[in-house]
């Protein structure tokens, strides 16, 4: 140890000696002062580092600048990625719905007339139920009709055909037109123009109170075009769109058909080799069954293909005269603190006045819960129900369409169903700070904080210290 120290000192002395020797030959020019003196009055080009206002920028320069800008970039990327993710997630939800099977469709069927909720509730299957736009306001009656009810009580959800899927699309639309006869012709023309046909047509009633039901079939890719054109033909009273994903069934049928065809071929070859009449008869019987099965399966597949290829739209046409004296209807959008509780209260309220919940759906968008309900109550209870629901939270939108006269069914009678429609939207009253936003901002801040801490620690450890005063 001592030797080592002595060695070190020896080397140190030698190095010192070496540099002293160098110093003898390294001398500044004698005219240094004469060159320097005239410059003493100059303003300095660069003030001494660490003593001036440039200190911050010097501190910032180099690795610190890189670290800070990287942190900011990471946070920005997180925020942008989060926003994109949110957008895509919403879009994906819509797509999921578009491709969803009928069992996942929000709007249900109420045949009995009793209070029924057919909705996708509880919300476990919510990701597939985000059908209604993310707006917090209740859609207008006409728009709501797109996911609403028909007079015959069938409810559908909107689904365009999806690529690569076997989807059967159906829709029903109820239109109020000034002239039903003209409208029938228009519907027929529309179907033909789009490469479709009229499947069924019936009309009834006198000139001023005429009503017609026209069922048309249009190519699946013209489905939405047809609907759009139909909507422009009159006032939409209700409109329902439904699509059923039959991809799995189609694949199953196809597999069964292949199997049956193979069996048929096999039996044919066995039959050809049969030597005895009894064998031939037995095989022939089996073959007959298999051929029937093949034909049956082929028929089902053809039907399915046809249904997939051609969408069905049931158009109900009626004149405004029919609507005289109709029950009131209203749309109500309420921002509530707890959607589930409010939903339960609404159900209880409607049930209490012998009303019907045609449909209810709960959806989550961006962590925000919303419920959409289609109610029918007796006219006598209409105002009471509207007011009671309005007290659940902050009314964001309220529209009431009153009738001139009240029909007999407006009063509570045992043999007539409630007929005053209420379209209700319950949305969660939250601000910008949804859980997703909070998570993104918190994650970004945490990363930024960690980076800054690492930076400070690194700076203190001398890793990033500038070699300046």
């Amino acid at each position: 140890m001592k030797d080592e120290k002595n060695n070190f000192n020896n080397v140190e002395q030698k190095v010192q000696k070496f540099f002293l020797k160098q110093a003898e030959s390294l001398k500044a020019g004698k005219d240094l002062w004469s060159k320097l003196e005239p410059r003493l009055d100059e303003k300095p080009k660069n003030t001494e580092p660490g003593k001036t206002k440039g200190r911050f920028w010097q501190w910032l320069a180099g690795p610190r600048l890189i670290a800070i800008s990287s942190s900011v970039a990471v946070v920005l990327i997180l925020v942008v990625a989060g926003s994109l993710w949110l957008t895509n997630n919403n879009a994906a939800n819509s797509r999921t719905l578009a491709q969803s099977d009928k069992s996942n469709i929000v709007w249900g069927f109420n045949g009995s007339g009793g209070p029924v909720s057919t909705a996708t509730y509880p919300p476990q299957i919510i990701p597939q139920t985000t059908i209604v736009a993310t707006t917090t306001t209740m859609p207008s009656a006409a728009v709501l009709g797109a996911v609403g009810s028909t007079s015959n009580g069938v409810y559908y959800a909107a689904i365009p055909n999806a690529a690569g899927k076997q989807v059967i699309s159906q829709a029903s639309i109820s239109l109020e037109v000034s002239n039903v006869s003209t409208a029938i012709t228009q519907v027929e023309t529309l179907a033909q123009n789009l490469g479709g046909s009229v499947d069924n047509m019936s009309s009834s009633g006198a000139q001023n109170q005429q009503q017609a039901n026209v069922t048309i079939r249009v190519p699946a890719n013209q489905f939405l075009t047809a609907l759009n054109q139909l909507q422009s033909m009159g006032t939409v009273e209700s409109q329902n769109i439904n699509s059923q994903d039959v991809t799995q069934q189609y694949i199953d049928l196809q597999a069964q058909l292949n199997s049956a065809q193979l069996e048929e071929q096999s039996l044919q070859s066995i039959l050809a080799k049969a030597t005895t009449v009894s064998d031939e008869i037995a095989i022939q019987q089996q073959l007959t069954q298999v051929i029937a099965q093949v034909e049956n399966l082929q028929g089902q597949i053809n039907y399915m293909q046809n249904q997939v290829a051609m969408s069905t739209i049931a158009v109900n046409l009626n004149t405004p005269a029919q609507n005289v004296g109709q029950a009131p209807s209203g749309t109500l959008s309420v921002a509530v603190s707890n959607v589930d509780n409010s939903l339960a209260s609404v159900k209880q309220l409607v049930s209490g006045v012998n009303g019907i919940i045609n449909s209810s759906t709960v959806s989550f968008n961006d962590g925000k819960e919303s419920a959409y309900l289609s109610l029918q109550v007796y006219t006598a209870n209409f105002d009471q129900v509207m007011n009671a629901i309005g007290k659940y939270g902050k009314i964001e939108q309220k529209t009431i369409q009153e009738s001139g006269t009240t029909q007999s069914s407006g009063t509570q009678q045992s043999n007539s169903p409630p007929n005053a429609n209420i379209y209700l939207s319950l949305t969660e009253a939250t601000g910008f700070w949804t859980p997703t936003h909070i998570t993104i901002v918190a994650a970004g801040s945490a990363i930024l904080a960690i980076l800054i801490i690492v930076l400070i620690v690194a700076g203190r450890a001398g890793l990033l210290r500038r070699r300046s005063a």
């Binding site: 390294l26 500044a28 003030t47 001398g462 005063a469």
Partner: protein, 183 residues
């Protein structure tokens, strides 16, 4: 006693410089110009650049002499300013490598050309066997005569770093200098 007198003198010089006395500053320049020039030269390997750096360092010192705290030695402060100038320049020019060989070759020979060539050759080998950081430490410690703390302050490194860099540099120089002595 002599050391105390030196400090006193230096303090006086500083005070006079702070009062704007150019003659006092001239005394400072004359006292430290060689050490600064040598340091700059050994860092850059170029006489002209070294002279420029020395001039800039003295100018900066003159402009900032009012902020200098009397009672402290002047040399480390001046060396620190110079080192900052040189390092900033080298960073700006992305030329941190010493090029003693080419520059020394252009130097005019001294009284004894053979000895001068041998000296340059030895200097070149010593400088080349050290890393840039080691070279700075060795120069400040053994050429400029700064303490570990002063070197650390001048280079913006920790004292421990300076010590370890010094140790490693000396380890590398050990064989080289012994070899040179044998020659």
């Amino acid at each position: 006693m002599i050391e105390q007198q030196t400090v006193m003198t230096e303090n006086d010089m500083v005070r006079r410089c702070q009062a704007g006395d150019r003659e006092a500053f001239r005394a400072v320049v004359e006292k430290y110009q060689n050490i600064l020039y040598g340091t700059a030269y050994l860092m850059t390997g170029n006489r002209t650049t070294a002279e420029d750096h020395v001039q800039e360092a003295f100018l900066a010192a003159w402009k900032n002499i009012s902020s200098f705290r009397t009672g402290y030695p002047l040399k480390p402060w001046l060396v620190r300013i110079l080192v900052n100038k040189v390092i900033s320049y080298q960073r700006a020019n992305a030329n941190t490598m010493i090029s003693l060989d080419t520059n020394l070759a252009a130097d005019p020979a001294g009284d004894d050309p053979a000895e001068e060539i041998a000296r340059r050759d030895q200097l070149k080998r010593v400088m080349q066997c050290l890393s840039n950081e080691q070279r700075q430490v060795v120069l400040l410690r053994y050429f400029a005569g700064l303490s570990v703390a002063e070197t650390a302050a001048a280079l913006g490194r920790r004292q421990g770093t300076i010590k370890s860099q010094t140790y490693r540099a000396l380890e590398q120089l050990k064989d080289l200098i012994e070899d040179d002595n044998r020659q």
